[in-house]
């Protein structure tokens, strides 16, 4: 959160800051004790996942339970979002960027007792890049032209063009590896290589994972058992935590509940980063948004600090482009168009809209934060003379007409896919932003020979779209966790949707 010079909100800001600080000092920064072995850990999730195979459904509920716990890929994200070796012990990239060689870990067994080797990797990715296979994101692997296994523990990906992003895609939940001959049964009987085996699932009620005694990493996991309890109602989730029925809420904790944690000595909370950007999207192809001055004016007219206060109790980072603080290429661009309603009015007048205009602003029904934020945005736009007609749309309609059809003036949504800034290269995306420079920059990022060069290219994309005021990026809501005091080792950030319990333990 950036501090605001405006006195109107200074009091509220100060209060929220003080509270946040008190919470942080009181809990999150406490020194972790030595890990304790054994025990059962119970964590709440919000809905039952549609099966367990993250390669055939994009439901985030699946990786939240399975990623790094049951399933692993060649590489994976760690708690900071860094890409670390998993089933591949190491990998090298050729000079020309066209050959990725993965050296596999030896002696790894799948949970069904079968051996993991290069044939499994080859079959997994042959299936993944096959558009007919039912894999939900074959395009992640489109740069691969050939997959070969020179021996049982080496896999070579030959690329048609350099693709820096491939490594990132290989760390995603979509790239996990299971015995390829059991692809069809993963939905109900998951078999991975991770620190936990899938033990049981009680329909709509709970998922139980059991410690994998043969896990290749020494010393982990600590827990004997991890139970993911499905509790749909937020109040019930919180009551279950207070009652001690569960040990942690690792998804969808509301800011109100987070602030309540300070009153309860048995509980603690952490505030970390997540991949969501709350975005006021504008139809760049439609008047008056096709005039950059109008888009700039709208950006200038919105006081993002106030929105973070109003919609999220001050918990959240004001952003200025399509990236959250969890991205490795994140830079603070929130001052590109700082709040300046006077300048906004001038720009509107320059664009020929001195008397304002009328726009239709549609809020997605299922998303409370977006609706709350949208109402405040509408009020701020009215103050600079824009007549905003607000309406709420049902989710199915939102997807079909606005998102897929691109038929709208202005809407608001949280984009939570990690590294999704690439959508700005697609003029067909619902923003209707057409700038070939973004495609060129993406190509540069893909062809980069170092991660520094890749990061630089991504930053440039972020800066170009920020300058162009394509949308208004309001803020990135934090990843909030509530846990009982004796729980340690959980992820405090959410670089990818995952409740990784590998290093979780409970004292006493």
């Amino acid at each position: 959160m950036t501090s605001s010079p405006r006195t109107r909100f200074a009091g509220a800001l100060f209060g929220a800051l003080a509270l946040t600080l008190a919470l942080l000092v009181g809990s999150a920064f406490a020194e972790d004790p030595a890990p304790v072995k054994g025990g059962t850990f119970t964590v709440a999730i919000t809905a039952d996942p549609p099966g367990w195979d993250p390669t055939v459904s994009t439901s985030q509920e699946i990786p939240r339970v399975m990623y790094n716990n049951v399933y692993e890929g060649l590489v994976s994200f760690d708690r900071t979002g860094a890409i670390v070796p998993a089933l591949a012990e190491s990998y090298d990239l050729s000079e020309d960027g066209l050959t990725w060689t993965f050296h596999l870990r030896q002696g790894v067994k799948f949970h069904d007792g079968s051996d993991f080797d290069s044939a499994d990797v080859v079959a997994t990715f042959e299936r993944a890049r096959d558009k007919e296979s039912g894999h939900t994101h074959p395009e992640y692997y489109s740069a691969i032209s050939e997959i070969a296994a020179p021996d049982a523990y080496t896999v070579v990906f030959t690329l048609s063009q350099p693709s820096r992003g491939l490594l990132y895609n290989l760390a995603r939940p979509d790239s996990i590896i299971y015995p390829p001959e059991k692809a069809e049964t993963q939905r109900s009987e998951p078999i991975g290589t991770g620190p936990f085996k899938f033990a049981s699932y009680t329909e709509g009620s709970e998922v139980v994972l059991e410690r994998n005694p043969d896990y290749y990493r020494e010393g982990v996991p600590y827990l004997d058992k991890a139970v993911f309890k499905i509790i749909g109602d937020p109040n019930t989730r919180f009551a279950a935590l207070q009652a001690g029925d569960i040990d942690m809420i690792g998804v969808a904790l509301s800011p109100e509940q987070y602030l309540q944690l300070a009153d309860n000595p048995e509980l603690k909370g952490t505030e970390g980063t997540a991949t969501t950007e709350i975005t006021v999207a504008m139809n760049n192809a439609r008047a008056p948004f096709n005039d950059i001055r109008v888009r700039q004016a709208i950006n200038l007219a919105i006081d993002k600090d106030t929105i973070v206060q109003g919609a999220f109790f001050g918990l959240g980072t004001v952003i200025g482009s399509h990236m959250s603080p969890s991205e490795p290429y994140y830079i603070d661009l929130s001052n590109t168009y700082p709040y300046d309603p006077v300048r906004a009015k001038e720009l509107l007048a320059e664009a020929g809209y001195a008397d304002g205009f009328t726009i239709h602003f549609e809020l997605p029904e299922p998303y409370n934060i977006e609706r709350r934020s949208g109402e405040v945005v509408a009020q701020m736009l009215r103050e600079v003379g824009i007549n905003v007609e607000l309406s709420v749309v049902e989710w199915g309609t939102w997807i079909q007409r606005i998102f897929l059809g691109g038929d709208y003036d202005m809407t608001i949504i949280g984009h939570s896919e990690p590294r999704d800034i690439n959508v700005y290269a697609n003029p067909g995306y619902y923003y209707h932003y057409d700038n070939p420079a973004i495609g060129d920059l993406l190509a540069r990022a893909e062809a980069a020979t170092s991660s520094e060069a890749e990061t630089a290219a991504y930053r440039e994309i972020a800066m170009v779209i920020a300058e162009d005021a394509v949308n208004v990026w309001l803020f990135s809501p934090p990843y909030l966790v509530a846990a009982r005091q004796n729980v340690y080792g959980f992820w405090q950030d959410q670089p990818t949707p995952a409740i990784d319990v590998t290093e979780v333990f409970k004292t006493n």
Binding site: G134, S205, T236
Partner: protein, 314 residues
Amino acid sequence: MLAFTVRRFFTALISVWLASLVVFSAIIAVPGDPAEIILGLNASPQARDALRAKLGLDVPAPQRYVTWLAKAVRGDLGESINYQQPVGKLIAARLQVSVPLSIGAALVATLLAIPLGIFAAMRRGTLLDPLITTLSQVGAAVPSFWLGLIFILYFAVQLRVLPAGGFTPFETDPAKWFRSLVLPVLALGLGQAAVMTRMTRAAMLDVLDQDFVRTARAKGVGTGKLVLKHALRNAMVTIVTILGLSLTNVFIGSIVIEQVFALPGMGALALKAIGTRDFPLLQGEILVYAATIVALGFLVDLSYGLLDPRIRYA
């Protein structure tokens, strides 16, 4: 009686079929496609089309309905789009929650309401009657989900004697199963008990005011016998009607209670089916709901003849 039963049975079948038709039309009328919802916002169009074809969504809606209906008549409810499992199996699992919850709540309601209602009617004119009436008024006004939240805060968070939510199947641990149902059953049953108390009291008063009661009293029939044999028997038709309605209310009301107590019941499944546009699953659910409600009405009708010999069907 047989003709009546057969006629009622066919009416019931037609009601259930109409319900399925209405629900199907509703779900295709609202925008949103299961494939889009499963794949999320960033899926490629090819993946979306492939999934649509795989799920059989590429055929026109009326044809889909006819195929579904043809199978349903033969007892095959099809496969859920979201869970990719047989609908019958999913529903059977959820009924293990919803049936004990509904029956438990109806039992709580009946066991509380009938004695209380009779008692209040007998004590008309004393302080107890307005006390019971007022309490039942309050009970009827309090929404069950709110009562549920209060129960959770008191019994689970404060006293820690019962779980705040969740469900343990009977075969896993009967004691835990029982504990997981206590609060939801009470939350759902007490509201119904309040409504039923008032109705029982009214029905009893109605009967107690009638001439034959006065005659019986004059003949020297004792109060206990008078109430149980004469008055209650006559009030039973009304009470059974209420009981039938109440079971329906409880079955429907469990949708909300399941949310509050994180119970994997029919209601939670129906909400999920709507959210994901999972029409085979939703159709299966509606079939069970409609059939249950129609069957309850049918049973109530049948019981009239048994309870009151004056009511006969053709």
